[in-house]
C-alpha cells in the first residue's frame, strides 16, 4: 500500500501531523471509496468473466434502444446518454457546491446541493423507467419451436441469436446471466445513487441549519462530494461495460 | 455413569492445578519474585531444549509408525504420478533440511541464551549482508522447485495423447457414473434438460454418436499401459474425482466440463500381489465436500490387461439399445434387459 510510507524523514511522516495534509475524515472516506471500488470491481469483473465464458451476449444496441415517449423508434444508446449526462451534470453541481463551501458561502452551497439532489433523483427516475421498460418488454422468442413472449428478467433473456422461423426472423433465448448482472450491478449502483441522495439531503439540511457555519468549515460537504463523484465514477464503468462493449 | 466419573475426574484435575497455581503465587511472595522468576526461566529453557530433542525423536518415531501406511512404499500406480512422487521427495528433502536446522536453532538459542545475571545481550540490530543471504538463498531454492514443479504440472495437465481412451465421468449426489464412447470413439452429446429417470445422464439420443455409447455405474474398467482421458462432469454440486493411487484429482463442476488423463501402469491384480492385500481396489474418492453423504461417494477403478478390458467392453451393450430396444435392429435383447437394471440410478 504505501511504498512511500517507508521513506524516512520526509517532513510529512514524522508524526504529530497528517502526512497527507488531509483530515482523518477525508482519508477515511478515500479509503472507504477504495474498498467500495473493490466491491464494484468484483461485480464488474465477475460480469466480464461470465461474458468471456459464453459464446454469445446480448447486443446492447438492441437491448437499450428505447426512449420514453418515443414509441418504437430505434434509438440505440440515446436514453443511456441522457442518463450519463444527468450524472455528469450533477457531479459538476456537486463540485460547485464544494467550491462554494470553501468560500463559506452558505447560499451557494444550498443552491448547488439542491441541483445535485435533483440530478440524482432524475437519474434514479431514468433508471426506474429503464428497468420497467426492460422487465415489461414484450419480445417474441422461439422456445422449443414455440413462440413465447418475454421481457428481460433475471431468469429470462430474449436477446439471443435470431433464427428463421415460419418466414420471419425470431430471437432465441440468450444467456440468462445477462439479466442477473444487468439488474444486479445497475441496481447496486442505483442503490449507491439513492444513498448518495439521502446523504446529500442530510447535508443540505445541515447546511440550512447552519451547522457547518458554526463548525467553521464545510468539510462534510466535501466528504459527501467525494462519495457522489465516486458514484459518478462507477457509472462511467457501468456505462462502458453494459452499454458500450 | 462413566461420563460422570470422567467429568468428576477432569474437574478434580483442574482444581488441583488451580490450587497449585495459587500456592505458587504465595511461594513466590515468600521466596521473592526475582528468585522465582529465575527458577521459572531455567525450567522453561530446559523444557524448550527437551522439547527439541523429544520432538525430533517424535518426528522420527512418527515416521517409523506411519510411513508404511502412506502411498509411497507401494509406488505410484500411474506413469504421471511418478513425476509427482519425485517432486514430493525433492520437496521433502529440502523442507526437511530447513525444518531441522531452523527448529534446532530456535530451541537451541532459546536454551543457550536464557537469562543469566552475568550475560549482556548483544546489540545487533541489522546486517544487510545477512538479510541478502537469506533473501537470495530461499529465492533460488524456490525457483528450482518452481521449475521442477511446473515441468511436471505442464506434462500432467497438458493435452492427452491422441491415442488415449476417453471415458466420461459424471458425479452426482452421491455416486459416480461412467460413459464410454463405443466403437466410433465419439461421446454422444448431452443436454442436462433431457435428464429423466431412465436417461439419467441427459444424453441426447438424437445425436447418432450416442448410439454406441456404453454407460456403467460406480465401477470403471481401464486397460493398463494406455493413457486414459477422463472428461469430467457434475450434475448437481461440485464433486472431485480423487485418485490417490494415481496421484491425481480433478473437480467435477456443473456446467463446466473438466478433464484429466493418466497412464495406469499396475493392474489391480498386480497391485493385490504388490501390497499383499487380496482386497485391494483402486478407489475414486470424492474430495470436494458435496453434501451429507460426501464420505460415501465411492467409485471403483479396475485396471486390467488390454485383453481383459476388450473382453469386458465387448460384453457391454450400448445404452441406446437398452433404452430403445425397438429401434435397434438385431440385438441380444436378453442381455439388454439385464443391463437396464444397472443403468437405472442406484439410490444410496
Amino acid at each position: 500500500m504505501s511504498t512511500n510510507a517507508i521513506q524516512t524523514n520526509t517532513k510529512w511522516w514524522n508524526g504529530g501531523r497528517s502526512p497527507f495534509n488531509v483530515s482523518y475524515g477525508k482519508v477515511m472516506m478515500w479509503y472507504f471509496l477504495m474498498s467500495d471500488a473493490f466491491t464494484f470491481g468484483a461485480f464488474l469483473i465477475s460480469y466480464g468473466t461470465i461474458r468471456f465464458s459464453v459464446n454469445n451476449w446480448a447486443d446492447p444496441n438492441h437491448v437499450f434502444n428505447a426512449f420514453p415517449f418515443a414509441g418504437h423508434a430505434n434509438l440505440p444508446l440515446a436514453f443511456v446518454s441522457l442518463m450519463t449526462f444527468i450524472l455528469i451534470f450533477s457531479s459538476v453541481t456537486m463540485v460547485l457546491a464544494v467550491h462554494e463551501g470553501h468560500k463559506m458561502n452558505r447560499k451557494g452551497v444550498e443552491k448547488y446541493m439542491v441541483l445535485t439532489i435533483l440530478g440524482g433523483l432524475a437519474f434514479l427516475g431514468c433508471q426506474a423507467w429503464e428497468w420497467t421498460h426492460l422487465i415489461t418488454g414484450d419480445h417474441a422468442v422461439l422456445v422449443n419451436g414455440q413462440i413465447e413472449h418475454w421481457g428481460t428478467t433475471v431468469s429470462k433473456n430474449p436477446w439471443g441469436h435470431e433464427v428463421m422461423h415460419e418466414g420471419a426472423m425470431v430471437a432465441t433465448p440468450g444467456p440468462i446471466a445477462f439479466g442477473g448482472y444487468f439488474f444486479g450491478i445497475t441496481g447496486f449502483h442505483g442503490f449507491h445513487v439513492f444513498s448518495g441522495v439521502i446523504i446529500n439531503v442530510v447535508m443540505l439540511i445541515k447546511t440550512r441549519l447552519g451547522h457547518f457555519d458554526q463548525r467553521g468549515h464545510y468539510e462534510m460537504i466535501e466528504k459527501a462530494g467525494l462519495y457522489w463523484h465516486f458514484v459518478d465514477l462507477v457509472w462511467v464503468f457501468v456505462f462502458l461495460c453494459f452499454y458500450l462493449i | 455413569m462413566k461420563e460422570f466419573l470422567m467429568i468428576a475426574l477432569g474437574v478434580l484435575v483442574f482444581v488441583v492445578i488451580f490450587q497449585i497455581a495459587k500456592a505458587s503465587e504465595y511461594v513466590s511472595v515468600l521466596k521473592g519474585e526475582a528468585k522465582t522468576r529465575k527458577q521459572n526461566n531455567k525450567i522453561n529453557a530446559f523444557f524448550l531444549l527437551g522439547f527439541l530433542v523429544f520432538g525430533l525423536i517424535g518426528v522420527w518415531y512418527c515416521n517409523e509408525l506411519y510411513y508404511g501406511k502412506t502411498l509411497f512404499p507401494q509406488g505410484s500406480a500411474s506413469v504421471e504420478g511418478e513425476e509427482i512422487d519425485r517432486m514430493l521427495l525433492i520437496t521433502i528433502a529440502i523442507t526437511g533440511f530447513v525444518f531441522v536446522i531452523t527448529q534446532a536453532l530456535l530451541f537451541w538459542f532459546s536454551f543457550k541464551y536464557q537469562e543469566q545475571d552475568n550475560r549482556k545481550a548483544l546489540y545487533f540490530a541489522h546486517s544487510n549482508k545477512l538479510e541478502l543471504i537469506w533473501t537470495i538463498v530461499p529465492a533460488i531454492t524456490m525457483m528450482v522447485l518452481v521449475v521442477f514443479g511446473l515441468k511436471a504440472w505442464f506434462k500432467i495437465t497438458g493435452d492427452a495423447p491422441k491415442d488415449s481412451i476417453v471415458v466420461e465421468v459424471t458425479g452426482h449426489q452421491f455416486a459416480w457414473e461412467f460413459r464410454y464412447p463405443g466403437a466410433d470413439k465419439v461421446l454422444g452429446k448431452k443436454n442436462y434438460k433431457l435428464t429423466t429417470a431412465k436417461n439419467n445422464l441427459g444424453v441426447d439420443f438424437d445425436d447418432p454418436a450416442s448410439h454406441d455409447d456404453i454407460h456403467v455405474n460406480t465401477t470403471m474398467h481401464i486397460p493398463v499401459g494406455v493413457p486414459v482421458k477422463m472428461v469430467i462432469h457434475s450434475q448437481d454440486v461440485i464433486h472431485d474425482v480423487g485418485l490417490p493411487h494415481f496421484r491425481l484429482k480433478m473437480d467435477a463442476v456443473p456446467g463446466i466440463p473438466t478433464t484429466q488423463w493418466f497412464t495406469p501402469k499396475i493392474t489391480t491384480a498386480d497391485m493385490k500381489k504388490k501390497t499383499g492385500n487380496p482386497d485391494f481396489t483402486y478407489e475414486i474418492s470424492c474430495d470436494q465436500l458435496c453434501g451429507a453423504n460426501h464420505f460415501a461417494m465411492r467409485g471403483v477403478i479396475i485396471v486390467e490387461t488390454m485383453e481383459e478390458y476388450k473382453k469386458w467392453l465387448a460384453e457391454q451393450t450400448s445404452e441406446y439399445s437398452t433404452l430403445f430396444p425397438a429401434k435397434v435392429p438385431t440385438q441380444n435383447v436378453a442381455d439388454s434387459a439385464k443391463l437396464v437394471t444397472q443403468v437405472l440410478p442406484q439410490k444410496k
Binding site: - | 545487533f124 538463498v137 441427459g202
Partner: protein, 601 residues
C-alpha cells in the same frame, strides 16, 4: 478501572472538530457497553472472541469424537444436540454443520475479530501515541456490527434445518441449492447475512486502524519508528479493507442466486430429480471471488500474530529485533503477494494450466519474505538474554509452528504436488498449524504480554506455563501425524472412513488425535480461568513498565481513562527497539537521543 483522565472524544480529534460541546457522564452503559474508548472496545472484542473460541473449539471436539470413535455412541450427545445426534451418534448432516461452523467461527470470529479486533484496537492508539482511534464512533459501531453478526450466526445454530454445512468456504452450488443439503436452507442465508454484517464490521474497524496509524501518530513517531505490531496491524487492515469487499460481492451474488433466481454461479444442474432452469453461470467464479478474500484472510489472521511475536521476542530477548526494515519490508511483500495468489486454492478446479503456473510462481515467492522473517527472529534470539515470560514462550511457540506450517505450504503451493495433496489431511495439517494454532499462539502471547496493561494485574504464571506446554505439545501431536494421513490421500471432511479400503488403516491414529484434541481443548480452560480470575484477583502491577519495554503504551498510567495520557502525549525520539544499546538495558522511545549515543538503525 478508575478513570484517571477522561478526555472526551472531540478533544481527541483535534481542533477542527471541537466545536460542539457536550459533556457526557460515564454511566455503566457508556463505559462498558456502548463505550467509545478503544481500550474498552478491545476488551469487548477479546471477551467475545474468547466465548466464540470456546464454542468453536467445542464443535471440533464433538466432530473429533465421531472421527476418533466412529463405532461408539455417546448418549449425552443426544441430550446436547437433540435429533442431530439421535441415539448418541452424530448425523452426517450435523457433522458437516459442525465442521463448517468450526471453520467459520475460528477463522472469522476468533482469529479475525478476536485477534486483530482486540489488538488493533488496544495497541494502535497506545503505541502510536493517540488519545483514541480516528473515529471512536465508527470504532464502537465496528464492535456492534460484529456483535450483530455473532448473534445472527449463533441463531443459525438453532434453526430447524441446521446451520450452514457446506464448509467454511461455502462453495456453491452446494451452498446455493436448498435441495442439495439441509444446511443450504435457511441456515445458509443466515450465514451470508451474518457475514455481510461481519464485513461491515471489518471495514469500519480497518478504515479506522489505517487512518489512525497514518494520521494520529504523535510527534516524532515517524513510520519507521513504529513498533512492528503496528506495522503488522496496519497491513492487516489494508488487506481487510481491500479484500473483504470482494467477499461481500460474492456473498451478495450468492444471496441473489439463492433467493432471486439469478444464475451467477449455477449452470446445468439437476438436483433431487429437478431440472433447474439456470444456465451460463460458473460455480468456479465464486471460488475466485471467495479466495480473492480468502487468501488475504489467512494473512489477516497471521500478520497480527507475527507483529506481536516480533515485539514480544525483542522485548524478552532484551535485544533489538533483528532487521527492523527487513521485517517491515517482508510484511509489505507478504501483503502484496497475498492479493496475487488466490487461485492456488483452485489448482484442481479445471483452472487453465498456464494461468495456474503463474499462480505457482507467485505463491512460492511468499516463501522468501517468510524466510526473512524466520531468520530475523532466529538472529534476534542469538546472543540474547532471554526471559521466558508466558508471552515469550508463546511467541517462540509461534515461530516454531510458523516454520512447521510454512514449510508444508511449499508442498501445497506447487501445483503438481497439489494434485495429490489437495483437500487431504495434509491441507488440514498445514493450515491448522500455520494459521490456526500459530495465530492462536500469537493471540495468547499478546494476551499474556499485554494483560498487565489491560487490567493492571498479572496473570498467574504457573497456569500459563502449564497451558503453554500442554498446548504446544498437543498441537504437534494432533497435527503432525495428519501429514501422513494426507500423504496417504485421505480426504478431509469425511464423516467416516470405514467404507474405504484405501483409507481405513488410520483408525488407531484418528482415535489418538481425537483424544489429544480433547485434552488440549480442556487445557484451554486453564487460560480462560486464569484470564477471568486474574482480572479481579491477579497479582497487582506495581511497576508501570513491568517488562522493561520501550513502546509508548507503558508510559500511560496504570488504568488510563479515555484519552490514554493524563497530560501531554509524549513525544517520540527513537525507534521502538533500542534494547541493549550503549550498555543500557532498554531506552524508551520517549528518551531523547543523547549526544554520546552511538548510531542505531
Amino acid at each position: 478501572m478508575s478513570s484517571v483522565a477522561t478526555v472526551h472524544h472531540e478533544d481527541v480529534h483535534g481542533s477542527h472538530d471541537s466545536h460542539h460541546e457536550h459533556h457526557h457522564h460515564e454511566t455503566f452503559i457508556s463505559k462498558y457497553i456502548f463505550s467509545q474508548d478503544h481500550k474498552m472496545i478491545a476488551k469487548q472484542f477479546l471477551v467475545t472472541g474468547i466465548i466464540w473460541a470456546i464454542i468453536g473449539g467445542l464443535f471440533s471436539v464433538i466432530f473429533r469424537l465421531q472421527l476418533g470413535y466412529p463405532e461408539a455412541t455417546f448418549p449425552w450427545l443426544e441430550d446436547l444436540l437433540g435429533h442431530w445426534a439421535a441415539g448418541g451418534k452424530l448425523k452426517p448432516e450435523f457433522y458437516y454443520a459442525l465442521v463448517t461452523m468450526h471453520g467459520t467461527i475460528l477463522v472469522f470470529f476468533v482469529l479475525t475479530a478476536g485477534l486483530s479486533g482486540t489488538f488493533a484496537n488496544f495497541l494502535i492508539p497506545l503505541q502510536v501515541g493517540a488519545r483514541d482511534m480516528a473515529s471512536p464512533m465508527l470504532n464502537m459501531l465496528s464492535y456492534w456490527f460484529f456483535f450483530l453478526s455473532s448473534i445472527i450466526m449463533f441463531s443459525s445454530l438453532f434453526v430447524q434445518t441446521g446451520p450452514a454445512s457446506g464448509g467454511w468456504t461455502i462453495y456453491p452450488p452446494l451452498s446455493a441449492l436448498g435441495e442439495a443439503s439441509s444446511g443450504a436452507k435457511i441456515g445458509m442465508d443466515l450465514w451470508l447475512v451474518s457475514m455481510a454484517m461481519f464485513i461491515v464490521s471489518a471495514l469500519l474497524g480497518g478504515l479506522n486502524y489505517i487512518t489512525t496509524i497514518l494520521n494520529m501518530r504523535t510527534k516524532g513517531m515517524s513510520m519507521t519508528r513504529l513498533p512492528l505490531t503496528v506495522w503488522a496491524l496496519f497491513f492487516t487492515a489494508v488487506l481487510g479493507v481491500l479484500s473483504f469487499p470482494v467477499l461481500l460481492s460474492g456473498a451478495i451474488l450468492l444471496l441473489f442466486d439463492r433467493n432471486l433466481g439469478t444464475s451467477f454461479f449455477l449452470s446445468d444442474i439437476v438436483v433431487a430429480g429437478k431440472i433447474l432452469p439456470n444456465e451460463g453461470g460458473s460455480a468456479i467464479l465464486f471460488q475466485h471471488l471467495f479466495w480473492f478474500l480468502g487468501h488475504p484472510e489467512v494473512y489477516i489472521i497471521l500478520l497480527p500474530a507475527m507483529g506481536m511475536s516480533s515485539e514480544i521476542i525483542s522485548i524478552n530477548s532484551r535485544k533489538p529485533i533483528f532487521g527492523y526494515m527487513a521485517m517491515v519490508g517482508s510484511i509489505f511483500a507478504i501483503a502484496i503477494l497475498a492479493f496475487l495468489v488466490w487461485a492456488h486454492h483452485m489448482f484442481v478446479t479445471g483452472l487453465n494450466p498456464f494461468l495456474g503456473s503463474v499462480f505457482v510462481l507467485l505463491t512460492l515467492l511468499i516463501a522468501v519474505p517468510s524466510a526473512i522473517k524466520v531468520f530475523n527472529w532466529l538472529t534476534t534470539l542469538w546472543k540474547a538474554n532471554i526471559r521466558f515470560t508466558p508471552g515469550m514462550l508463546f511467541a517462540i511457540g509461534f515461530v516454531s509452528l510458523f516454520i512447521s506450517g510454512g514449510l508444508t505450504g511449499i508442498f501445497l503451493g506447487n501445483s503438481a504436488l497439489d494434485l495429490h495433496l489437495h483437500d487431504t489431511y495434509f491441507v488440514v495439517a498445514h493450515f491448522h498449524i500455520v494459521m490456526g494454532v500459530a495465530s492462536m499462539f500469537g493471540m495468547f502471547a499478546g494476551v499474556y504480554h499485554w494483560f498487565p496493561k489491560m487490567f493492571g494485574r498479572f496473570m498467574n504464571n504457573t497456569l500459563a506455563y502449564i497451558h503453554f506446554w500442554v498446548t504446544l505439545i498437543g498441537a504437534y501431536l494432533i497435527f503432525w501425524p495428519m501429514h501422513y494421513q494426507g500423504l496417504a490421500g485421505m480426504p478431509r471432511r469425511y464423516y467416516d472412513f470405514s467404507g474405504w479400503s484405501s483409507f481405513n488403516m488410520f483408525n488407531g491414529l484418528n482415535e489418538f488425535i481425537s483424544f489429544v484434541a480433547m485434552i488440549v481443548f480442556a487445557a484451554q480452560f486453564l487460560f480462560v480461568y486464569n484470564f477471568f480470575y486474574s482480572m479481579y484477583k491477579g497479582r497487582k502491577v506495581t511497576d508501570l513498565n513491568p517488562w522493561g519495554a520501550n513502546t509508548l503504551e507503558w508510559t500511560t498510567p496504570l488504568n488510563p481513562g479515555h484519552g490514554n495520557w493524563p497530560g501531554e502525549i509524549p513525544e517520540v525520539y527513537r525507534g521502538a527497539y533500542d534494547y541493549a544499546k550503549d550498555g543500557k538495558e532498554f531506552i524508551p522511545q520517549t528518551t531523547p537521543v543523547g549526544d554520546d549515543e552511538s548510531k542505531g538503525h
